[in-house]
Symmetry: C2
Subunit: 309 residues, 2 copies
């Protein structure tokens, strides 16, 4: 039994919020657009979170939250409680943990969205299905962009917020990236890149990677080429990890993972071709879906309460 917690998962596009009950159920799950373009983005975020929290508490007046779990996107220094940098939301070195703690008058567990959602995936999702022996793992989230949570000997790798930025690691066939580097995995392996590159190559506008997959399955050779290039690029990046931290499992989440075996099967094959004596990781789909971040915020809130009794 845990006390109720207020949970927030702040992304560049939207904020998910919920209140957890004593059994750990997520109540009142809601998704609203993240307020953007304000002069003080950190203060504006805290104000928006306060409003969302008040709504949740009004809906469930008998549940009195004892801590807050707050995840944010960008470069995050979990130890210092800082939002170091968010290209989308605009803050720099914002003391978000302290600001949230003051606004709610509660202890706040603070973390990076992808890293903490990955920790929840490892504990409650695909990782739980793999068993406790998997202590070296990667949760690779492939959507509009690509990010990852890395786990070494059972611990999340943070490196001051700079770890797991796999979307901005170079692959041999990558292109110039808006981040300023060249060849980033995101420019070829993300769901966003698949859709964009297919539209450019075929002249046919598509909404997302799903349509490219459907085109491939009807025999469209352009779609097949774009899809395969994405798979090759993702496999290249995973192979790099097999030579550095050597994960036992790679858990694939995000929008592109909805392709299921159409993604995972060629990914395993491509990876196997790239490895020799290396340890080949299991490649499995994520299980928690959209709520992985709120589940991660729950873990953070529980930690914060232990630290601040």
């Amino acid at each position: 039994m845990n006390p109720p917690y207020l949970l927030f998962d702040v992304g560049g596009t939207d904020i998910k919020s919920a209140l957890s009950d004593e059994a750990g159920n997520l109540l009142g799950i809601r998704r609203v657009p993240t307020r953007r373009g304000t002069p003080d983005p950190a203060a504006s975020l805290i104000d928006q979170l306060h409003g969302l929290g008040s709504d949740l508490m009004a809906q469930s007046p008998l549940l009195v939250p004892q801590a807050v779990g707050l995840l944010v996107c960008g470069i995050v220094d979990e130890d210092a409680g800082l939002g170091v940098f968010s290209a989308n939301l605009g803050w720099r070195d914002a003391p978000l943990r302290e600001m949230a703690s003051k606004a709610f008058a509660l202890p706040v567990g603070f973390g990076h969205d992808v890293s903490t959602a990955g920790a929840a995936e490892l504990r409650f999702g695909a990782g739980a299905a793999l068993g406790t022996k998997v202590r070296n793992a990667v949760v690779l989230v492939i959507g509009t962009g690509i990010a990852a949570a890395l786990f070494v000997d059972g611990h999340a790798v943070s490196a001051g917020g700079y770890a797991g930025e796999l979307g901005h690691a170079a692959v041999p066939v990558g292109f110039d990236c808006p981040c300023g580097a060249h060849g980033c995995l995101e420019t070829i392996g993300s769901a966003g890149a698949i859709a964009k590159r297919y539209t450019q190559a075929s002249g046919r506008s598509v909404d997302g990677a799903r349509e490219v997959l459907e085109a491939m399955e009807t025999g469209d050779p352009v779609a097949a080429r774009i899809w395969n290039e994405a798979v090759e690029a993702i496999a290249f990046s995973i192979a790099q990890l097999c030579s550095s931290i050597a994960p036992e499992a790679v858990i694939i989440g995000g929008g592109l993972a909805q392709a299921g075996e159409a993604l995972l099967e060629p990914l395993r094959r491509s990876l196997r071709n790239k490895l020799s004596y290396h340890r080949e990781p299991l490649i499995v789909p994520a299980r928690l879906g959209q709520d992985a971040g709120l589940r991660g915020a729950y873990l953070k809130a529980a930690e914060a309460r232990e630290v601040h009794p």
Copy 2:
């Protein structure tokens, strides 16, 4: 004050051995060829180590060793005490720690040669000069081959012995590798590859990468091309790490590091060109030289004695 230890650093080519005194000095440092081609390579190794240990003890009869520090090359499972695999020496899943402990009737601290030498470099060498704030670091050893020791949050990453195999991570311009994979960093960025590729391209036989560097410094364009391709490849692999575990420092050791700033300066420049918002690591030379392994074995012996009082 520590008691004396017997120290062994077993590589594919040779074994270094020494006895440490109470002040931690290494006495009787000796390098002999590793015995090879025997039907039982693990038993043969232990027999050879026993002979070397007896010699050391005969030289310093007043120093009675209280533990053994044993490092071996290949894939090593430090927790289980196993030499999992050595392509050069031929064992598979050999219980080397237990075998050495029986042979010497002493507790044995057991580790991987590169990983443990890296730990010593971090503690006593370049890492000590960088200060205690560096908790995420890579010690990259570039010689005939390339291997690395990775440190995350101050802890060595082992991953069952499969971590740090950077020599066998692909780079865009790499070639087929004897390991069975394609594009391995070792095929272009190692001292061995630099010498071999220069000989192939120029028709002039050289003994090592040092001669290629000397040729470059006299204006040889072939030498400059081969050297620069090696630097680019090494920088590519380091940039991958900047997107995954984001080290604060990369310590370069091994034979190629003797080139000093002729290697490190272009390496820093090439790396900087590949990064955007990533955290740029310090790139510094290793300091311990040939004895890093024995210093690491010393750390392992001291650990073993704490575990088995």
